[in-house]
């Protein structure tokens, strides 16, 4: 999992990551190129992409348990 920070200064993102103890990669999207490629309108937005490169799910806020459940459902469906 990676998190994408859009249009925000590096220092501010660094402080945020430090405060929230995020341990996975945080990507910088200073000029919003990635956000625009994905058409992101609201934050947060969570996009799940399959190994084949196709989008499996697009959602807003996904608490840990919900995301885990969604991923399991997707992978189970894909393995059929």
């Amino acid at each position: 999992m990676v998190r994408v920070s859009a249009n925000e200064r590096r220092e501010r993102v660094a402080d945020f990551v430090k405060d929230t103890a995020i341990t996975f990669p945080v990507l910088l999207d200073m000029d919003k190129t990635i956000s625009e490629q994905y058409g992101i309108k609201y934050l947060p937005t969570t996009v799940i992409i399959g190994p084949d490169g196709l989008v499996r799910s697009v959602a807003g806020l996904l608490p840990e348990e919900d995301l885990r459940l969604q991923l399991e459902t997707i992978m189970k469906r894909d393995s059929k």
């Binding site: 999992m1 920070s5 945080v26 937005t45 996009v47 190994p51 196709l54 989008v55 697009v58 608490p63």
Partner: protein, 393 residues
């Protein structure tokens, strides 16, 4: 397969429900969005009583949506008028006893789609109707100039659509584009037949005249090219093409001039596969990099101009009135010292809609907070990827 970093974020902010949509497998229509701005500055000619300016005023139709029109300047009268015969719309401005320069800023945004007519399954030949008859009229002098050529075209027994194609191919195969000619050319058919070279007005007017001479209704279309550059001066980018009418189908676009231009610019023969592709494209199609301004010929503007009808109405037309006479020409030809006319194009990038389920996730390479490089590589990948777009606020 495994999951990449199954770690969870406790995200900030309020969750916003988002629609889950299936990806659309059909390719999106080829379209574009641009802002066109015109700046006109006319020095007050010595002894003039008034200035009148007609600016082609684009309107929305099946292929373009015009919006956010803005007009400002130091004129005393203004209005948008539509003339009766061809339906051309003009922004009309009048300056009375102007002190100093007359100024105008005119801008609009246009969302434009390429126009493609490819389904001719409903085409049938029908006798001229009250609606199509005017588009078969030909000036007697032009008809006479075309008579020998018309008789030589192999159109006997062909449908209207096939006759239009014969005319189109004849124009593409037998005339050259001459970049030295100023503007769009005169659109004088006998002159073009004789010179065998010209510009878009010459190509389109001759296509129209020949189509009419073999019984296919046809008409002119005047417009302005939208630059593909980030920002560009398009003051010289007026362009004309044609439309012909097929019963059961409607008006069909054709742009023989752009086929010949493509061949010339790329130094390719007419039978080169790339030129053949363009030839097929522009018979029934025009691209999205243009805005339609009007149609017709020998145009009587509204409000009526004092001088002769206009051969075509593409560029703003100016008349300067004096005590006892009037002079007029389009702004590109008006010989007034200090006259400034520019038109610029600023492409507008539309934001795409939220990516949907089933769509291909765009690849990207970017920097991570720790200074590494991260790339979402092309599929197939080993992992599932979760992208969490977030804000710190």
């Amino acid at each position: 397969m495994r999951l990449m970093h199954l770690l969870l974020a406790s995200l900030l902010g309020t969750a916003v429900p988002l629609a889950h949509g299936q990806g659309d497998s059909a390719p999106p229509p080829v379209r574009r969005h641009a802002k066109v701005s015109m700046h006109v500055q006319i020095p007050n000619p010595v002894g003039s009583k008034y200035l009148k300016l007609w600016v082609p005023y684009p309107v929305s139709d099946d292929s373009q949506t015009v919006e956010n029109v803005q007009i400002s300047g130091n004129y005393q009268r203004q209005g948008v008028y539509r003339e009766r015969e061809f339906g051309n719309t003009a922004l009309f401005l009048r300056w009375l006893q102007a002190e100093g320069d007359a100024t105008l800023e005119f801008s609009f945004e246009v969302k434009r789609e390429e126009r493609l007519v490819r389904d001719f399954s409903g085409a049938h030949d029908a006798p001229p109707s009250i609606l199509t008859q005017p588009f078969l009229d030909l000036d007697p002098a032009v008809r006479l100039a075309l008579s020998e050529l018309t008789a030589s075209l192999p159109v006997e027994g062909l449908t209207a659509l096939e006759r239009a194609r014969v005319v189109y191919d004849y124009i593409v195969d037998n005339f050259e584009r001459d970049p030295k000619i100023v503007g769009c050319g005169t659109g004088d058919v006998p002159e073009f037949l004789n010179a065998r070279k010209g510009k878009c007005a010459d190509f389109s007017s001759t296509f129209i005249a020949l189509a009419r001479s073999v019984g296919v209704p046809a008409r002119e279309v005047y417009g302005l090219r939208l630059s593909k550059e980030a920002e560009d001066d398009i003051s010289d980018d007026y362009h004309c093409w044609a439309e012909f009418f097929v019963s059961g189908v409607g008006w069909v676009p054709a742009d023989p001039s752009d086929v010949v231009k493509f061949a010339r610019v790329n130094a390719l023969s007419r039978d080169h596969p790339r030129v053949v592709a363009k030839r097929d494209y522009y018979f029934g199609g025009v691209d999205e990099h243009r805005v339609r301004l009007g149609t017709g010929h020998e145009i009587q503007l509204a409000p009526l101009q004092l001088l002769d009808p206009l051969a075509y109405f593409m560029c703003p037309y100016l008349e300067v009135g004096y005590e006892s006479n009037c002079e007029g020409a389009d702004l590109k030809k008006m010989n007034l010292r200090g006259l400034t006319f520019t038109a610029s194009c600023l492409p507008i990038v539309e934001r795409r809609s939220l990516i949907g389920v089933g769509e291909i996730a765009p690849q990207f390479i970017t920097e991570t907070l720790s200074g590494d490089t991260y790339s979402l590589t092309p599929a197939p990948r080993r992992d599932y990827t979760v992208l969490s777009f977030f804000a710190t606020w």
